[in-house]
Amino acid sequence: MKIAVLVKQVPGSESPLPLVSSQDWLDESQVVYIMNESDNYGLEEALQIRENNNDGEVVVVSLGPDRTQKVIREALSKGADRAIHIQTDGNYPTDPLAAASLFADALKGEDFDIIFSGLQSDDLGYGQTGIILGELLGMSTATLAMATEILDNKIKVKRELEAGYFQWVTMSLPASISVQSGCNTPRYPSLKGIMGAKKKEINVVTPSVGDQNQSIKKIYAPNTAKETVMIEGSVDQVVEKLVTIFRNEIKIA
């Protein structure tokens, strides 16, 4: 079983998000980057399948500039066997079709049985790259996976639907599957894993980004119509004000 895992480096949830003066991207020098949350679950799912089958290869695939190697190393230290780094000049593609095409070019000779991706990136949030990639490579696809089960040349996926429903879907391999956060318990790297990761191969490819048909004109802080009353003071003052608001404004009996 040969499994690829798409991993993206994104700003952490507590990172500052300052903009460059042209207001079309972040000033990356001040951003604290982490591995995209749902991608971490995709990696764990791949590692568990390899372990349960006592066989196979897990290849981490990441698109982005130099800094991306930090999350690639993190994935290798958790147990991925090798990596492909699709290195781009400048910003990450703003059109997911362009991003997925870069992945497709890098992966088409590899014949992966499964490609796992996170449901959605916590930065641009397109939520489609893994599925477009699967379609471009002629694979079966499924989204919002909460569990997987390998059958004979097939994969069975528990998909999350709306309003608390789930559904099992079985499909032929090869398949590209996007996973939902919470579908497993991602591991932490071991000391041995961290040491071992240094020796693992990262294959760097440097394609140029193709046509992009959706692009960012401007990024800005949301202008909220809602007036928020901020309650300030010591803990005791805050509590007293909240109780008054509950009673007099919200009118909780």
Partner: protein
């Protein structure tokens, strides 16, 4: 037609986000001087077409094929692709439902045309449109411009347009024939099911105390439960709390949980990720306590406290009990 709205089936009725997309299409049609129509498919196509024909649209296209009776991403993507190729719309609109997330990226790949997913607003500059999208977990917005040849696939986030604004009228119905064969469908689906029965129904709750990741650890959950009891409120949570196993999935509010609209929603340590906000933004009063002054929850809160909920909550419980 210039604008095609793809409507989703919700057990024989049009998915509410489909009606919102009709409102979006009518708005675009008015602003750009274009014509708008809709399409339906699946085993309830006849009933859906009848319902859709009651809106002010040029036409309602209905696609009937036995391979579309049950949803599959392969079948639906292929069907919409063929309708697009026949009808040549410039814009194809969807509600950003779980089903749309599942199959519309495949249409994007088949046509090699862009899919602008989860837009929250549309703006016009002459004949050009730009769409607004939330990025960085809704902490920032961005305006996205489109280029290249039509068609453009666009999905709108829940409640970006109001279904009440969809104008009614009479639309002609027309059947569109497509070609599908079973070899195109690579998935086999079992019946949808619910994980646990006897869960908590929060949809009618008057007061809700909701906990997020900021509660810190499982041992702190009873603190929030005490406050909920003192207020006579139900307890709910955001997804990370359920993923950590601190509360059962039936307590989850958000796109993958329940949608609530209580008189008061007290958010404790909830950052306000969009997946959560879509489930609670209809609350009449939102009170948020969070240690991060930049947390997006404050953008939708009526009352906000920047502070340590572990200090505030026990004292608040005490103050309410002593009244």
């Amino acid at each position: 037609m210039d604008i095609l709205v793809v409507l989703e089936d919700n057990n024989g009725t049009i998915h509410r986000m489909g009606i919102e997309s009709i409102a979006a299409a009518q708005h675009m049609a008015d602003s750009l001087g274009l014509s708008a129509g809709a399409m339906v498919m699946g085993k309830n196509a006849v009933a859906l077409a009848t319902k859709a024909s009651g809106y002010s649209l040029d036409e309602v296209l209905s696609v009937n094929h036995e391979l579309l009776n049950d949803y599959s991403s392969d079948g639906y993507a292929e069907a919409v692709k063929q309708v697009i190729n026949k009808e040549n719309p410039r814009y194809v609109l969807f509600g950003h439902s779980y089903q749309v997330r599942d199959y519309v990226p495949k249409i994007s790949a088949k046509l090699m045309r862009p899919f602008l997913a989860d837009s929250i607003a549309i703006d016009f500059d002459g004949k050009d449109v730009s769409l607004t999208k939330q990025m960085f977990n809704a902490k920032l917005f961005s305006d996205i411009s489109l280029s290249g040849d039509a068609p453009f696939l666009i999905s709108f986030q829940s409640a970006s347009f109001l279904s009440d604004n969809a104008s009614t009228g009479t639309a002609n119905k027309r059947e569109v024939v497509i070609n599908l064969d079973s070899s195109m469908i690579k998935t086999e689906s079992e019946a949808p099911f619910k994980e646990s029965s006897g869960g908590v129904d929060l949809t009618d709750a008057e007061l809700i105390v909701s906990v997020g990741r900021g509660i810190g650890k499982e041992e702190n959950i009873p603190m929030a439960q005490d406050l909920a009891s003192a207020l006579g409120a139900e307890i709910s949570s955001s997804r990370p709390v359920v993923d950590s196993g601190w509360l059962s999935p039936s307590h989850q509010v958000g796109s993958s949980g329940q949608a609530v609209s209580p008189k008061m929603y007290l958010a404790l340590g909830i950052s306000g990720a969009i997946q959560h906000v879509v489930g609670m933004k209809a609350s009449k009063n939102i009170v948020a306590i969070n240690k991060d002054p930049e947390a997006p929850i404050f953008e939708i809160a009526d009352y906000g406290v920047v502070g340590d909920l572990l200090e505030i909550v026990p004292k608040l419980t005490e103050a309410i009990q002593s009244k």
